[in-house]
Amino acid sequence: MTSTLDSDIRMLGAVRSATRRRVLVVTGILVAVLVVLAILALMLGNRIVAPGDVLAAAFGQGPGGDRFVVQGLRLPRLTLALLIGACFGLVGAVFQSLLRNPLASPDIIGISQGASGAAVGAILLLGWSGISVSFAAFGGAVIVAAAITLLAGGFGPVGSSGRSGAVGSRFVLIGIALAFLAQAIIGYLLTRADVRDAQSALVWLVGSIGTVQPAELVVTAVGALVLSVALAVLAPRLRMLQLGDEAATGLGVRVTRTRLLLTLVGVGFAAVATAAAGPVAFVAFVSAPIARRLLGGTGPALVTSALVGAVVVTGADIVAQHAFPGLQVPVGIVTGIIGAPVLLLLLARGNRTKGAA
């Protein structure tokens, strides 16, 4: 008896340390990739800066031309890419584990569409541009999120059976309904507008970080920071919620309140990122599944998801700027075209390993 218990405990310990090692390795690799991508992003462009000079230029040393290009143009853009990538990655991780549905990402549950509807309305009806569009988008995202929350009628356990999966489905379904409503409004606005205006609205709709304003960058950074602290506080409870509502209650988690807080944080991330860059397609959707697969686990994988999101957006933005000479492609197009096949590849591989196991 005791000997099997001992060996069980030893095995558990071994599994645990293996998991921890894997987390460390994956995190290290992702950070390394991110650093390489960041240096590339600062180097490349019409004026190519040598890898050795990039760091100096970023800190205000070296020739004035390098300094202007790196510090003034590329660094803000890179920072925004990293920020919104991490935000979108976290949104996906939070919603997908909170609502227990792989479809729960802001592109699907209407938050992106709410932001887009408000932004497109602001562009086409009010003639706004620049940062005021971002504020409109933020408002749209928050309104849709509030509407979903109110209509879903709280976050408590449902019915007598108390299956939390049902809460997730209800939330997501209402989100989808609102997404289609917002989509219809966008379609209506696009068909009624002048075709040139419609095209500029389309750039916003697909998500782009071409123009970065310092004010925008500061707002986004502060928002992301505040939300990250809140998420760090809530993260242990999110992990417990994954065990099921009853188990989480047993562990002392106030399920309803925790779910509400986590939803608010997730919506906050989505709103901040969407306001800054538009609904960059697919990053939120794809980051968490990739992170989970890299880690080989089923947990929320928050940090890894954020890193994956940052890698995806930063890499995609490099491609968007330089892959088509003479044409600036919105980053959202590249994340859609590249991010999705990556998910497909992982899927195909996952199917195979599942067959082997």
Partner: protein, 358 residues
């Protein structure tokens, strides 16, 4: 997962004790058949409304005269026969097949959020239409039909192949692969539209989903696809009931899970491809309709499938009619009205009937 036969059916059948299944089952089946008949009556009413109502007021008798070809007024005859009849017929056909495909899709993926659009069908059709406009210079919606059909079918086949991997598709892999392929295709569409103003000018009207300016001549060649798709779909009810219990249980019941998925996939491609090529990418119909059907008849897919046909037709024909009336003298596209009617409907359903959602 699904609870076996919850008492979601109103009336005497739901309260019958399980120990006496005979008469209760008969009564329940009778209630459902009567419900189906009632829905067909509503379909007829919707068709009537679509023929009689519009921005030009035409008398009941004049409409009937125009339909039979004895109208005294040439303009009225033209309005009824060339404008109202085609959009009514296409609304009926497209709505019915989208409703059916939606129910099928939900059974196939075991995901109450599934919509035929998620299988990549709409994105494939849309990309094909963009190519038709941008590359081949096709100018009229009736010219898009075969492009759209081909694009829809191709996209769905890709989704299916990717999701299958080596061990056949699972509900999760189908859902994810559908979303991924949709994202790729949508990005390519946007890339084309951003560079080509003329294509955007045309495409934006097709993409909201409209029944205007569609050619009735496009329906007959698509009819075989629709009929085969509908028959395949209706044959799958029992298998989908098994699938709802999970793959292992379904296999234990002697079902061939892979075969069911393949047939369901083919039916969805046929139904959605035809509907999308007729009316544009109308995403919401399938989702709303299958939830309404489930709300009425409970979790039995044989009945959900049967009910979703008239429900889909009613939703689309009514949406088109309403769109003609509320924005006079202009019109609101059917796709927009579907969202305006469908979204609140879906929200009410989701809030009311919590047990239905797994």
């Amino acid at each position: 997962m699904t609870r076996p036969a919850p008492a979601t059916v109103a009336g005497p059948a739901g309260s019958a004790p399980a120990s006496a299944p005979g008469p209760a089952l008969v009564r329940r089946r009778l209630a459902r058949i009567l419900g189906l008949v009632a829905l067909l009556v509503v379909v007829l009413l919707a068709v009537g409304a679509s023929l009689f109502l519009g921005s030009r007021a035409i008398d009941l008798s004049a409409v009937i005269a125009a339909l039979t070809g004895h109208s005294a007024d040439a303009t009225e005859q033209m309005v009824v026969l060339d404008l109202r009849v085609p959009r009514t017929v296409i609304g009926l056909v497209a709505g019915a097949s989208l409703g059916l495909a939606g129910a099928l899709m939900q059974g196939l993926t075991r995901n109450p959020l599934a919509d035929p659009g998620l299988l990549g069908v709409n994105a494939g059709a849309s990309l094909a239409v963009v190519v038709a406009i941008a590359v081949f210079g096709v100018g009229a919606p009736s010219g898009y039909v075969w492009f759209a059909f081909l694009g829809a079918a191709l996209a769905a086949v890709i989704v299916y192949a990717v999701a299958s991997g080596r061990n056949g598709p699972t509900p999760l892999s189908l859902t994810l692969a559908g979303a991924a392929v949709t994202a790729v295709l949508t990005s390519v569409i946007t890339l084309v539209l951003l560079r080509d103003l003329d294509t955007l000018a045309q495409y934006r009207f097709w993409s909201v989903g409209s029944l205007v300016a569609r050619d009735l001549g496009t329906v007959p060649p698509l009819l075989p696809f629709l009929v085969v798709g509908a028959i395949l779909a209706l044959l799958l009810g029992r298998s989908l009931n098994g699938l709802a219990l999970g793959d292992d249980v379904a296999r234990g019941l002697g079902q061939r899970v892979g075969l069911t998925r393949a047939v369901a996939g083919i039916a969805i491609i046929l139904l959605c491809g035809s509907a999308t090529s007729l009316a544009g990418p109308l995403v919401f119909v399938g989702l709303v309709v299958s939830h309404v059907a489930r709300r009425i008849v409970g979790p039995d897919y044989r009945w959900i499938l049967a009910y979703s046909i008239p429900l889909g037709a009613i939703l689309l024909v009514l949406a088109d009619t309403v769109g003609r009336l509320i924005a006079q003298p202009a019109e609101l596209e059917a796709g927009i009205v579907v969202a305006i009617i469908g979204a609140p409907l879906l929200i009410v359903l989701v809030r009311r009937d919590r047990a239905v959602i797994r």
